[in-house]
């Protein structure tokens, strides 16, 4: 499939119709999705109608915007008016959101065509998309392997050419890790850069929406559309979205790049080798590469598994069978709560609700939640110190390439380790993205993570573009 940049240009210039583009995407979905299960819900009729409407506007001489006619897949935790939005959970059975998420409004407002809702680990809790009530998604590079998670459906959709762009959400690495495992570009912007309004919350202080794309330029194009202040999200940053696409080619000459030593430990040697190789690409392009240290990063995973479940335990309380979604009717309200939630949530969600409830309980709050917040402060401080010496930082995105389905489902702690390199950026609130860079010894894609200071996405994208440019030789 063509890139989003090419599609939008062709559609705006009248060389292709939005309808033609959508039909191509739908036929790709028809061909690949039965095997991969990237989609929970394909919006074929809506997509065709939207494409026809766009073609009508184009025929009248209107410009639908920078994403004119570009098919986009949405992680199924983004609210879409009147279209099932499930979080891959039985608990939201039958619920139709009465509103569109801000990110959906912006995409549609820029001319994008939503083609469907993609599979995820239930409520975005997981690293393999195996925790879905509707069955796992498979990796397009090897269907016996996981696509990563939690945004595995979106990553697989883009990797398999079913959509040139997809939206994911990243709470501890849920965009970047599946992007790495599927060999696509995945971006977690600065916390607050993209409005969370309409994103069904997992952990509110960590959740951030971002793009999946096959190229850095496509990701930049999508980022420009979805970023920017939204008054409906109180945590949304005030600054207007920066221009990124136009600055991608400025190169990395003179930039100081630090490889985070703490995040190279325990990483598979073939993955670590690719990170070093990406660093060499940057050196060759004129950057100064050295070893950086973010000491508190090693505590990120532990702090994350207190903060994220704590917030989740509260965010997911509302799924109680009273107002919407699944209700298992019992004799009284307490029994109804218990039966509904027992039937509606899967094991990983229950595990995290319990973890979080425990961490917030009287007598444990200071020892767990408060302490984890202190670690978070340390991580922010250590990143700030590192950014005193470096313009951007580099690390692996995930410690391994895609692993086989079922390999880690029996051992949550091993599964949690998949996000060890991505979690620190969520805790710090800083932007980070994964760029495909060669393959591991098993021939499966490897992702290199580029991390930048808060609000410095243009810099981050520039470095990613330079790595991408050198990836062809990897």
């Amino acid at each position: 499939m063509d890139t989003a940049v090419d599609i939008a240009r062709a559609v705006r210039e009248g060389r292709r119709t939005a309808r033609q583009v959508v039909e191509e995407a739908l036929s790709a979905i028809g061909a690949r999705d039965p095997e991969l299960h990237a989609f929970n819900h394909v919006m074929a009729d809506e997509a065709r109608a939207a494409a026809d409407a766009l073609d009508g506007r184009l025929a009248r001489g209107e410009d639908p915007g920078p994403l004119a006619g570009v098919p986009v897949a949405l992680k199924d935790n983004m609210c879409t008016r009147g279209v099932p939005t499930t979080c891959s959970s039985k608990i939201l059975d039958g619920w139709l959101p009465p509103y569109d998420a801000t990110v959906v409004e912006r995409l549609v407002g820029a001319g994008a065509v939503i083609v469907g809702k993609t599979n995820l680990d239930e409520f975005a809790m997981g690293s393999s998309t195996e925790n879905s009530a509707f069955g796992p998604t498979r990796n397009p590079h090897d269907p016996t392997r996981v696509p990563g998670g939690s945004s595995g459906g979106s990553a697989a959709a883009v990797a398999a050419g079913m959509a040139p762009l997809a939206i994911g959400s990243d709470t501890g690495g849920s965009i970047r890790q599946p992007a790495a495992l599927c060999g696509v570009v995945g971006v977690k912007p600065t916390y607050g850069r993209v409005s969370r309004f309409g994103l069904i919350a997992f952990a509110s202080s960590l959740d951030q929406i971002g793009p999946f794309a096959t190229t850095v330029a496509d990701a930049a194009l999508m980022f420009e559309v979805i970023a920017g202040h939204d008054r409906r999200d109180s945590t949304s940053v005030q600054e207007p979205a920066p221009a990124v696409l136009g600055t991608l080619g400025r190169g990395v000459e003179g930039l100081r790049v630090g490889i985070i030593s703490e995040l190279m430990d325990g990483v598979a040697p073939d993955v670590a080798a690719r990170v070093d190789q990406a660093a060499q690409v940057l050196t060759a392009a004129g950057a100064k590469v050295d070893t950086a240290s973010v000491p508190a990063a090693i505590y990120g995973l532990t702090a994350y598994y207190l903060i994220a479940p704590a917030e989740a335990s509260s965010n997911l309380a509302r799924y109680d069978g009273v107002r919407y979604g699944l209700r298992v009717e019992k004799e009284d309200i307490t029994e109804t709560y218990l039966a509904t939630r027992a039937a509606g949530f899967g094991p990983e969600v229950k595990r995290r609700i319990m973890l979080g409830t425990y961490a917030l309980s009287a007598g444990y709050y200071d020892a767990y939640y408060v302490k984890a917040q202190k670690v978070r402060t340390l991580i922010i401080r250590d990143f700030a110190a590192a950014y005193g010496d470096f313009d951007v930082l580099l690390s692996p995105t995930a410690p391994t390439t895609a692993f086989p389905l079922g390999e880690k489902t029996g051992d949550p702690l091993t599964m949690y380790m998949s996000d060890i390199c991505t979690i620190p950026s969520n805790l710090a609130g800083d932007p980070a993205m994964s760029v495909p860079f060669g393959t591991g010894d098993d021939g499966l894609p490897v992702g290199v993570q580029v991390l930048a200071p808060s609000l410095q996405e243009p810099l981050m994208f520039r470095v990613a573009a330079a790595i991408e440019a050198g990836a062809g030789d990897a």
Binding site: D233, S234, A317, I333, Y369
Partner: protein
């Protein structure tokens, strides 16, 4: 043994904002159920709260009016399951509230400390059908989310209150302040002001506080007073018979006149408070605080003090008039030369009885009337008559008095009328002299009739008494 009560009050007050605390839905009492709702106040998945600036403004007004330190605050989530809470947590302020360390002055000039006055969202309203109105026994329950997300300020007093009357005075005063600031309409009967009372008892003279009970469901000042009295009595009886008080929540039952045991300390919820990650800390800048301070009206305590000084009375004597918003009228009269006490009396009685008309009463006419009475040119009875007409039709008090034929009687004229009346009823006069006080009224009426009501009732009584040799 003598006991004393130790009372602290928690007052929830709904703010009179146009819209709810975190969304644009109308904040309106009494609309059709579930009509003022949206994804945000229904807590639908993906929705996020946005703080209402007007609600913050009102909360700050309340803080300033209660002499609080208004400071940076943080919203927390209070987690518990109940169907009237769409998110199954309530967004409230916890250990970093917007207003702390204030006080409120009662009409008797005593002060009650204010621990805090924090912001939070209201819940929806459940109606349990069947099963005696309790959720677990109900056949079904109805939920109205119109109230969900309505902004509240919870005002927590220090345990400074010692009597039920003082508790009632506190609530009245607080209501007056809330209304004066424009932050709330203070209607207890509509639930826009809800009071919980923490009551304990201890031996008179101080010492450690006793174990307290929190009494809920107090919907009127009367309930508040009765519940406190009942609860204190219950606790004293328990202690005097060798028992102990258990810390618990108790519900006031207005019909039975009793408090009933609710949730015990052991059964208390663990609310798992933590900072609300969907909102940022609230930190009003100096300019905003100055603006709020500058826009506050003169508050009841200050108005009482001002009027008391002007009228040369105690502040408590001005409470009613200030409460009725008649103090400006009284001030105008006193400044115009009328007697302060008389002005307060007329305002607190005759004007209070006809408040609607009193609101449009010409201060100059009121002043002129009072001065006629002060000068003895009108008797109290006549003054009330003239005031009645002033309230009804307006006009010039002197002209009205003249129309009614009210001219002050010379003392000598009155004496001769009295003597004529006594002479005409010699038998009754004899019995009157013999001590039959019932005849006082009989003679007063005859004299008043004979003078065409021009006589001063008090002067008539005095004359009659002196004639009777008393």
């Amino acid at each position: 043994m003598s006991w004393e009560m130790v009372i602290g009050l928690e007052v929830h007050c709904e703010l009179k904002t146009e819209t709810k605390l975190f969304c644009g839905c109308r904040n309106m009492f009494g609309d059709e159920p579930n009509t003022n709702i949206c994804p945000v106040c229904l807590g639908l998945p993906g929705s996020l709260p946005v703080l209402n600036r007007q609600a913050v403004d009102f909360a700050m007004r309340i803080g300033e009016a209660l002499h609080c330190e208004v400071r940076r605050s943080v919203f927390h989530r209070k987690n518990y399951f109940y169907p009237d809470m769409p998110k199954d947590y309530q967004v409230s302020q916890y250990d970093e509230p917007i207003n702390v360390h204030g006080w409120l002055e009662l009409p008797d000039t005593s002060r009650v400390g204010i621990t805090r006055a924090h912001m939070e969202e209201d819940t929806g309203k459940t109606t349990h059908v069947g099963g005696g109105g309790r959720i677990h026994e109900a056949a079904y329950s109805l939920v109205d989310y119109n109230r969900a997300g309505v902004p509240l300020v919870e005002i927590v007093s220090e345990p400074d209150i010692r009597t039920s009357d003082q508790a009632k005075a506190y609530v009245s005063e607080l209501r007056a302040i809330l209304v004066a600031t424009g932050a709330s309409d203070g209607k207890m009967e509509e639930g826009s002001m809800r009071v919980d009372a923490n009551v304990s008892v201890r031996p008179l003279g101080g010492g450690e506080f006793g174990t307290r009970c929190e009494i809920k469901n107090l919907n009127s000042l009367r309930s508040l007073g009765r519940a406190i009295e009942y609860e204190a009595r219950r606790q004293i009886d328990l202690l005097e018979s060798g028992g102990t008080v258990d810390q618990e929540t108790r519900h006031w039952n207005e019909a039975d006149g009793r408090t009933l045991s609710g949730r015990s300390k052991e059964e208390a919820y663990d609310y798992r408070y933590f900072p609300e990650p969907d909102l940022v800390p609230l930190d009003p800048d100096a300019a905003w605080k100055d603006e709020v301070r500058g826009s506050l009206p003169v508050l009841p305590a200050e108005r009482r003090a001002r009027l008391a000084q002007l009228a040369a009375v105690e502040p408590a004597d001005t409470a009613l008039v200030v409460e009725l918003e008649l103090d400006a009228l009284v001030e105008a009269a006193v400044n115009g030369g009328a007697d302060g006490r008389r002005a307060l009396n007329r305002a607190g009685n005759e004007l209070a009885a006809n408040l609607t008309a009193a609101r449009t009463l010409d201060p100059a006419a009121f002043t002129a009337l009072l001065k006629l009475e002060d000068a003895g040119q009108l008797t109290p009875t006549q003054a009330k008559e003239v005031l009645g007409e002033l309230l009804e039709k307006g006009g010039d008090p002197a002209a009205i008095a003249a129309d009614k034929g009210y001219e002050a009687m010379e003392a000598g004229d009155l004496e001769s009328v009295v003597d004529e009346v006594l002479a005409a009823h010699a038998d009754e006069f004899e019995r009157f002299k013999g001590g039959d006080q019932k005849l006082m009224g009989f003679f007063v009426k005859l004299v008043m009739d004979a003078t065409g009501k021009k006589a001063d009732g008090k002067a008539v009584s005095a004359l009659l008494r002196s004639r009777a040799g008393g």
